[in-house]
Symmetry: C2
Amino acid sequence: MADASASQVLGGESLLYLTDEQLRQGIEAMFFAYRGFTADPDRILQGLSYGRAHHRAIHFIHCAPGTTVNNLLNILGVTKQSLNRVLRTLVEDGLVESRVGRADKRERHLYLTEAGDALEKQLSDAQRARMRSAYRQVGPEAVAGFKQVLEAMMDPEMQRQYQRLRENRG
Amino acid sequence: MADASASQVLGGESLLYLTDEQLRQGIEAMFFAYRGFTADPDRILQGLSYGRAHHRAIHFIHCAPGTTVNNLLNILGVTKQSLNRVLRTLVEDGLVESRVGRADKRERHLYLTEAGDALEKQLSDAQRARMRSAYRQVGPEAVAGFKQVLEAMMDPEMQRQYQRLRENRG
DNA sequence: ACTTTAAGTCAGCGTTGTTGACATTCCAAT
DNA sequence: ATTGGAATGTCAACAACGCTGACTTAAAGT
C-alpha cells in the first residue's frame, strides 16, 4: 500500500501525519503557495524588463548593504555569470552602486541607490502585505510551525545562511 | 519605525509575530526552503534534459490520470504553448500517452506510461523523503501550522484548485 | 451552412539558469 | 621579486521554460 511506510505506531504516537498522502498535500501546498508568494513582486517587475533574479539581488543587497558579489553568490546559489548579468543591468540603471573594496580592491561592495531603495520598498511592501495577511489569518502558533517546517526542509548550508542573516539583524 | 505597523496590541493579544522583521524572516525562509524543496528532483532530472516543468506535469498527470491539456493548464498556471513543449517531449520519449477524447475530439486525455510512472515514483520518493524528514523533526502541530500558512498565502483560485485535488483523493 | 469559440500545435523571443575559456587585479608565500 | 592562487569580470554558447502571435482542427451556436 502507498501508506505502508507510515501506517505504524511508534511508542504509542500516531504517525498519520507522515502518510504519503499527507506528504503529497504538503508538496502541492508548497507549489501553489510559492506561486502566491512571488505573484505580487512578479507583477510589479513585469514590464520593467526585470525578473525574479533582480528582485532577489535587490532584497539581499538591502538586507546586507556593502555585501560582496561573492557573498551574494553564495546566498543566491547561482553562478557568478548569471548574477553578473543581473547586477550589470541594475548598476547601469542606477539602482545599485558597486564600490571597489578598500582593504581588498578585488572585491566589489554593493549598495542600493535611492532609486534602488525605492524599488526594494515597493517590492517588499507588496510581499510583506501578503505574508502579514496570511500570518494574521492563522495566528502565531501556526506561524511558528510554518517556520519550523521550512527550516527543516532546507539543506544544511542554506540553513546556516538563513540563520546568519537572522543573527545579523538581531 | 519599521515595526510601527505591528508594535501594537489588539484586545490584549501580542502582535509581535507580525513585525516587518518577522515577515522578512518568513520571506527568506520560503526562499531557502523552496530551494531545498526542489533540490532532489532537480538533481534527478538534470542530465535527462528534463526540468521542473516536466516534473510538475508528471506529478499532476499521475494524480489525475486522463486529465485534459486544458485542465492541466489551469492547475499549472502557464500558457498552453509552454505546457505543450513539455508534453511533446514527454510523449516523444514514451513517458506520457495522449489519447484523443471520445466525446470531444478536440481534447487530449493524458496518462502516464509505465516508464512515466517509474520516473514519477523516483521523483516523488525523493521529494517525499525530504518532506517526511522535515515533518518528523518538527511534529504534527508544526506541520498543521505549516499547511495553514501556505494555504493562506495562495491566491483564492489556487486555493480552490489545491482543495479540489485533496477532495479528489479523499 | 456559416461563424464563432475552444483545444491544441508550431515558430520565435526574453529571462535566467548553466558551462567553458580567458583577462585582470590583487594578496600571499616562497 | 617572482610565482601561485583567489576574486572579479567578460565573452560566447547553450538549455529550460516562461511569453505572444499565428495557425489547424473540432465543436457549438445561429
